[in-house]
Symmetry: C2
Subunit: 266 residues, 2 copies
């Protein structure tokens, strides 16, 4: 008999769709084949729930999970809906250990490129920037201030597995995060559309060729004057046409790739 939405283990997992539940249990849900594949490879998976339909479609993945000692249980479609944070549940959900670690440990390897998100409340944006940071070779992503929980379902999904790929840390105290970056030998550069210095000039000056933590604010509100006062440079992506701005993920992509290239000594 498949588990229903009233089966205690499903009820316990459902609590992980809320931040409070996740923080209490130190676990979260990864939904869909792609996220679960990355969780099995790079995270810690405690159990896996699947509908009969999803099981038929993802036989290899379930074999892999079972081989790794992960209990796999069948759930009803209604239970899958209860565990899903999407409009179209994929019928495949894994209970995973939270991926975040203390700031100091996330920065222990002294990575030359780090992304810091400050007050980014949109989970899709936070996840997409995490994916871009991973792609650009960043060694950590730090969620600071009122930034969304990296374990939010939409954030996990839009990161397409990247939340499992690189060290993640979070702290409500933005100043603490920035200080930790400095201690780890990182130069702090904030991205801000109102900056006077543009990215080309920053690149030309050679200032991006040193270990850098890029600080990104929310699309709606940007970075506060207080945060801007704590960084070494404030840089804008140049707008050559008539667009008034870039969205957060595309701006972060241009900045992080400019740093990746500068750090490679090109």
């Amino acid at each position: 008999m498949p588990f229903t939405e009233r089966t205690p283990r499903v009820v316990a997992a459902r609590a992980l769709t809320r931040r409070q539940g996740r923080d209490k249990a130190r676990r979260f849900l990864a939904e869909g084949a792609q996220a679960i594949r990355e969780a099995l490879a790079f995270g810690e998976v405690h159990e896996l729930f699947t509908t009969a339909t999803a099981a038929a479609r993802n036989a290899d993945l379930l074999t892999q999970a079972t081989a790794a000692g992960v209990p796999v249980s069948e759930i009803t479609d209604k239970a899958a809906t209860a565990l899903s944070e999407t409009v179209t549940p994929q019928g495949l959900v894994a209970v995973c250990s939270l991926v975040d670690q203390p700031l100091e440990s996330a920065l222990a390897a002294r990575p030359p490129l780090v992304a810091v998100l400050v007050g980014v409340s949109d989970p899709g944006n936070a996840g997409t920037v995490t994916r871009v940071a991973d792609a650009a070779g960043a060694g950590a992503v730090l969620f600071a201030g009122d930034t969304v929980d990296p374990h939010n379902g939409k954030c996990v999904r839009s990161s397409t597995g990247s939340v499992f790929h690189l060290p993640i840390a979070r702290s409500r105290d933005t100043a603490t995060v920035l200080t930790a970056c400095r201690t780890a030998g990182l130069r702090l550069v904030a991205a801000d559309g109102h900056a006077s210095l543009d990215l080309d000039a920053a690149t030309d000056s050679g200032s991006l060729a040193v270990p850098t933590a890029w600080v990104f604010g929310s699309e709606a509100h940007g970075l506060s004057a207080e945060v801007l006062s704590l960084v070494d440079d404030v840089v804008k992506v140049p707008l050559h046409g008539r667009a008034e701005s870039l969205n957060l993920a595309t701006a972060a992509a241009v900045c992080l790739y400019a740093s990746a290239r500068a750090l490679r000594g090109v």
Copy 2:
């Protein structure tokens, strides 16, 4: 008395929420204050519908529209919902002339940087790439093959006005679009995650320092072998970490900004 969803002019405008209706009338709807501001500045607006609430909130914009000779009519909330393509109607909709033009005219100024979308069916992606192309200083965006209509409500919205900022053309025939680019003196470079040449190497070789049309495919299917056979170079954005790919808009941002910088002779 405000117009209702049954008032003939509202019924006529509602037909513009479908591609067929737009193509027949050669008009489309721009929704929300930002899009309408750009439409008034850079497009051709035929009339404007507003709810009483939206009118109170956007008095300046309505004054500007009236001064420009655009008829402004009040509509009911229900009519606003009928004219909206979003979950949360903004209560402010303008009927505009289509922005696309023939390929040859879009390329007549021989722009040094152009974005070509091939088979991009997601309107949010197409709009975001249009915004990025505008920001990077591209001189045209070309919608080729089965790419979404640039006048689709979600595309217009995610372009944040950029569909009004730079020449847009569309053609079902991708080969025709690529030939037009060549005739306009553009080198054709396709972005493809499976390419052997990476963007840093392409930049270093100097090949991006000439007029370039970047060709982007859909996130799900990429570009067909046929399209890849028609371009001069196929280039991938390097993936330095564990991410398997970038999303379309972030990849396009990195490529277009690399070209913008190369074209400026840096």
